[in-house]
Amino acid sequence: MTTASPTDLCHAAALVRAREMSSVTLTTMCLDRIAARNDALRAFITVMGDQALADAKRADAEIADGHYRGALHGIPISIKDLVDIAGIPTTSGSAVTPRHPLHDAPVVRNLRRAGAVIVGKTNLHEFAYGTTSDETAFGAVRHPQDLSRSPGGSSGGAAVSVVEGMAFGALGTDTGGSIRIPAAACGIVGLKPTYGEVSCDEVVPLSVTLDHVGPLARTVRDCAVLFLGMRDGEIAAGAGAQAHGTAWLGIPRAYFFDKLDDDVREMFDRAQSALEKAGHSIGTVEIPLAERAPDVYLHIGLPESAWYHAPMLAAEGDKYSPGVRRRIELGRYVLAEDYLRAMHAREVLRRAVDKALEGLDALLLPTLPIGAPRIGDATVTVGSSEEPVRAMMLRLTQLFDITGHPAVALPCGEGRDGLPRSLQLVGHRGGTERLLDVAAAVEAQIAGGSGSVGGGVG
């Protein structure tokens, strides 16, 4: 068979369904890519080669018997190593003693029920507590385009697995932006669904009221298929994002555009122009008190992570990466009064985002204010000021973890450094599928069309 390698998950699914390519062939392709590139990129902690090939053979047999389960059937995917898979250690990227689960997490069970083939578990910022994927017991994850740079995090290995063709989709988690940040840094699509929509059971928590599970993939349609598989365990024929019509979009200028690198600003402006030219209606909206989001985030996330880690810190505190341990220890000092203050503020912010969305399909803003940072850098230059990398990477995403609104990161071109830049769409709570439809329409206008700063498609 001489069929060309599929470019994305939906393309692969079409080939499998038509029996032009087998799941075993797809899975072998992914395993070969892992074998070729994982030493350099450290995307995977555990490769499940034998099990994946056995699952792929089973999928091929089922499909040959006429039992096609939908667009994930026979498709190789990766799972962030924060999520339980029966019989495989859950390391959380840490030297701390791993979990040894006897059962799959419900989200993994759903993906298997939809027919997905799991090729392995991906590397991450230890316990998902960071945005650069360089504090991990399994070696820093590297950006595929520049090994000196971070792919973002905490789902850094998940993003790299997709970019490198090691998987056709990935499961990540997002507490302050950990799906959208690596998706943006690596130039792919990442979806944080509405809070609570995809099960977080048997997923090692970072912050129990902020954690979300969602997909990373090459396209919005791919993410839609993975989202349905994660949520429902089945994908009806024809389900997924539909790019139809034009949308009403609102740009929250205040706070979100105060600190952006020049390339992000330029790529965003080009994308906005392309969308307006295509007939989308775009205005400006306000989210009062958005500038307090980092304070609210800290006072919720810190104590919640300290609560979960307390027993492990007591037993194995010396096994944590120093930076991760410091952040967890910090959470022990947050007063109950200030935690409740932040939880009250959270409700106000939630209503503020709801109000900003009134009459709109989605909010439109950048995902990351910078391109992928260099591994080990604590600060980054943005305009004329030096800013902390961690604060910059969380700056535009964390509000929507606080409020629980669905948000998707989409590539919108490359900066002068050749690295991807990304925009973000935020939808109504409970409206993840509608948001994906809007994102598909936006993607159709800007995919490749915004080009690159300094000589791109323009």
């Binding site: 009062p288 304070d295 800290l298 410091r326 007063l335 009064e337 200030d338 203050r341 932040a342």
Partner: protein, 58 residues
């Protein structure tokens, strides 16, 4: 507990526990805590009063 008193107490505790490296993080958290408390009125804290009204009656 005031933010200032909290910071003094937290730094002393971190020192006692052999974690002096927490001090700059605690100082940063103190600034964030103050900013959050200062926003009580803006966030509609049910008992918040405007600054002029905050002093106890003589």
């Amino acid at each position: 507990m005031t933010v200032e008193a909290w910071l003094t107490s937290a730094c002393a505790d971190a020192e006692r526990r052999g974690l002096p490296e927490l001090k700059p993080l605690l100082e940063s958290l103190a600034r964030s805590m103050q900013a959050l408390r200062d926003a009580d009125e803006a966030f509609g804290h049910p008992a918040a009063r405007p600054p002029d009204d905050a002093a106890p009656a003589a």
